[in-house]
C-alpha cells in the first residue's frame, strides 16, 4: 500500500489517507470469538482431567505405541511402494494376462475397505492353519504356524502395505505415462531395448513425479495405522484404547493419542517439504508437453 505522498494540484505533496478494512476486522473478530469459545468449552470442561492427559502423555505404553506406529507406517509404506511399482509396470505391460491381473489387484484392494483387509489377514489361520513354503513334490521346505506369523503387527503391515500398493500403482502409472512419448522414441532410436528404456530413461523421469506424493501417502499411513487397534497391533491407538478401557478416561487418552499423531504428522510434513523441494520443482518442467503435465499432476497430488 502506498505511503509516499502524492504531488497535489498545487504541486505540494499531499499525504495518502489510511484505508480501514472494516470488513476484515469484523470477520477476524467473529472467527476468533467462535474459535475461542470452542477451545474454552474444552479447556475448562469439568469432566476433562488435564492432569491425566499430562500423566499419560509420556506413559511407557503410549511411547512404545508411538514407536510401533512409526514402525508399521515405515514398513507398510516401503512394502506398498515396492509392490506398487511392480503392479504399475505389470499394468502397463503388453501381456494382457499380466495387465489384467494388475487391474484386478488394484480393483480388489481399492474396492474393499482396509478394515476388512486387516481383519482378513489377522484371521488367515481360519483358511490356512499352516503356512508351508517347499519345493513341489518333495519334503524339503519350511512350515510355520499361521497364528504365530500373523500377529497384529505382521497383519497390519501386510494389510496396509498391500492396500497402499494398489493406490500407489496408479500414481506410478500416471508418472510413467506423463513422461513424453518422444523420450521413448529417442531411446529406441539409440538402440535401447524396452527394458533398458524403462530403467535408464523413463523411470528416472517418472520418479520426479512419483516421489512428491509419497509424502502424502506416508502422512496418511501414519493415521490409517490407528485402524490396527482392531487386530491389537500394539500401536499407539491400541495401547491408548487398552488404557482407557481399564480406567475409563476415554477423552483424556484420545487427546494423548491425538497429540502424538499431530507431532508425527508435523515431523512427516517437514520431511515431505524437503522431499518436494528436492524432487518437485523439476517435475513440471521435465514433463514436456504442458497439457499432459497439467492433466496428470493434480491427479497425482490428490
Amino acid at each position: 500500500m502506498r505511503t509516499e505522498p502524492i504531488a497535489g494540484p498545487s504541486g505540494a505533496p499531499v499525504p495518502v489517507a489510511r484505508t480501514w478494512h472494516w470488513g476484515r476486522w469484523l470477520a477476524a473478530a467473529v472467527a476468533l470469538a467462535v474459535a475461542g469459545w470452542l477451545v474454552y468449552l474444552v479447556v475448562v470442561n469439568p469432566h476433562l482431567d488435564w492432569g491425566k492427559v499430562a500423566e499419560y502423555l509420556f506413559n511407557d505404553r503410549i511411547l512404545s505405541g508411538v514407536w510401533v506406529t512409526i514402525e508399521i507406517s515405515v514398513l507398510a509404506t516401503a512394502l506398498g511402494l515396492v509392490l506398487g511399482v511392480l503392479v504399475a509396470v505389470m499394468r502397463l505391460a503388453h501381456n494382457p494376462v499380466l495387465s489384467g491381473l494388475a487391474t484386478f489387484y488394484i480393483w480388489f484392494f481399492r474396492g474393499t475397505p482396509v478394515l476388512v483387509q486387516l481383519i482378513f489377514w489377522y484371521n488367515l489361520a481360519f483358511l490356512f492353519p499352516e503356512l508351508v513354503l517347499k519345493i513341489p513334490f518333495t519334503m524339503i521346505g519350511l512350515k510355520w504356524d499361521t497364528n504365530q506369523v500373523m500377529t497384529g503387527f505382521t497383519s497390519a503391515m501386510l494389510g496396509l502395505g498391500l492396500n497402499l500398493a494398489a493406490y500407489f500403482a496408479e500414481t506410478v502409472r500416471a508418472g510413467i505415462q506423463a513422461v513424453d512419448r518422444g523420450q521413448t522414441e529417442a531411446a529406441y532410436a539409440l538402440g535401447m531395448t524396452p527394458a533398458k528404456r524403462m530403467r535408464v530413461i523413463v523411470l528416472p523421469q517418472a520418479l520426479r513425479i512419483i516421489i512428491p506424493p509419497t509424502g502424502n501417502e506416508f502422512i496418511s499411513m501414519l493415521k490409517t495405522t490407528s485402524l490396527v487397534y482392531v487386530v491389537a497391533g500394539h500401536d499407539l491407538m491400541t495401547n491408548a484404547s487398552q488404557i482407557y478401557k481399564a480406567n475409563n478416561r476415554i477423552m483424556e487418552l484420545l487427546i494423548v493419542a491425538s497429540v502424538w499423531y499431530m507431532v508425527m504428522t508435523a515431523v512427516a510434513t517437514f520431511l515431505q517439504g524437503r522431499l518436494e523441494r528436492r524432487f518437485g520443482s523439476d517435475a513440471v518442467r521435465l514433463v514436456r508437453g504442458g497439457g499432459m503435465a497439467a492433466r496428470v499432476l493434480p491427479k497425482v497430488a490428490a
Binding site: 513424453d180 523420450q183 539409440l190 538402440g191 528416472p204 514436456r288
Partner: protein
C-alpha cells in the same frame, strides 16, 4: 495406375551399379486405424548420398522415415536398410518377425534426429551424448564422456556440456541431438524435420552442422521444408504426396522444372513464402 509408378525409373539413377543401396524401398505400404498412410513407396539411397524429402504435411514422408529405422511397422512391400529387411529375418524359408532385442541391435547403426529434439530431460547435454555408447554399446563411462565431449565440440557446444536441455535454446538442443546420434557412429542418419520446431534465427546453426556432416560423406535422409538446404546440399530430392513418391530427381533440376502438377503447386506455395531463402 498409381501416381508414383511412372517417375520411379529415376530412382535407379541414384544408385551406382554394383554398390548396394543403404535404403531400398519397393512398394512400401503402411497404415493404421483403417487409414492408409503409405500407398506403395519406392525409394533408394546410395552410400554417401544426401537424400532430401519434401512434401505437404500428411503426405507420409515422416512416417516413411520412421519406417526406415523400424519405429513404425511396414505392413506391405519390401524395405531393405543396411542389407536387412526391416522387421524380419529370413530363416528356414520364412520371414521371422524381429524381437525387441533384434530391433535394438538394428537401430544401433542408424542415427535419428527428431523434430522436437527429444533430448533426455533428466540428463545434461554431455550425458545425453554419452548415453547411447554407455548403455547400448557398453563403452566404459570415462571413455564415453571423452568421446561425447569431442562430439559436443564438433557441434560447437563444448561450453554447454553440463547444461540440462531446458537450459539450452532450440538450436542448441537440436545440435546436441545430432551429437547424440553421431556418438553411436551410425552408418545412416535420419532427420525428421530437424528445423521445423525452431525459431527462424536458430535454423541456420543446425543446417550448418548438417552441411558439415554431408561434406564428410555421411549418408543422410532428410525430411525437410528447407528448400534452399535441399537445393544446396542434397544429392537427390524426393517429392512425397498422398503416401507415394510423386517425383524424384537432382534437386536443382527438379526444383527448376518439376514434371508434375502436384509438385509445381507445392513448390510455388512453399517458395512463395521463402523467396529470400532460395
Amino acid at each position: 495406375m498409381k501416381p508414383g509408378v511412372e517417375s520411379v525409373e529415376s530412382v535407379e539413377s541414384g544408385v551406382e551399379p554394383g554398390a548396394e543401396p543403404v535404403v531400398l524401398a519397393s512398394d512400401v505400404r503402411m497404415g493404421y486405424g483403417g487409414v492408409q498412410v503409405l500407398n506403395g513407396v519406392d525409394f533408394a539411397v546410395a552410400p554417401g548420398e544426401v537424400s532430401c524429402v519434401i512434401g505437404p504435411s500428411g503426405s507420409g514422408k515422416s512416417t516413411f522415415l520412421r519406417c526406415i529405422n523400424g519405429l513404425e511397422p511396414v505392413l506391405g512391400g519390401s524395405l531393405r536398410v543396411l542389407g536387412e529387411e526391416v522387421g524380419h529375418t529370413l530363416r528356414d524359408g520364412r520371414y521371422h518377425p524381429w524381437t525387441p532385442k533384434e530391433f535394438a541391435a538394428f537401430r544401433k547403426n542408424i542415427g535419428m534426429v527428431f523434430q522436437r529434439f527429444n533430448l533426455f530431460a533428466h540428463q545434461s547435454a554431455l550425458e545425453n551424448v554419452a548415453c547411447g555408447p554407455v548403455h547400448v554399446l557398453g563403452t566404459p563411462p570415462d571413455r564415453a564422456r571423452t568421446l561425447a565431449m569431442e562430439h559436443l565440440d564438433r557441434v560447437g557446444l563444448a561450453d554447454h556440456a553440463h547444461k540440462r536441455p531446458h537450459q539450452l535454446s532450440g538450436g542448441q538442443q537440436q545440435r546436441v541431438a545430432i551429437a547424440r546420434a553421431l556418438a553411436m557412429n551410425p552408418a545412416l542418419m535420419l532427420f525428421d524435420e530437424p528445423t521445423s520446431a525452431l525459431d527462424p534465427e536458430l535454423v541456420d546453426e543446425v543446417l550448418e552442422v548438417m552441411k558439415g556432416l554431408a561434406s564428410e560423406g555421411m549418408t543422410m535422409v532428410v525430411v525437410t521444408h528447407e528448400i534452399a538446404f535441399a537445393r544446396e546440399v542434397g544429392d537427390r530430392l524426393t517429392f512425397f504426396a498422398d503416401g507415394v513418391v510423386v517425383e524424384r530427381g537432382r534437386p536443382r533440376e527438379l526444383l527448376a522444372a518439376p514434371a508434375h502438377e502436384r509438385t509445381r503447386a507445392f513448390l510455388s506455395s512453399v517458395l512463395g513464402s521463402e523467396d529470400d531463402r532460395s
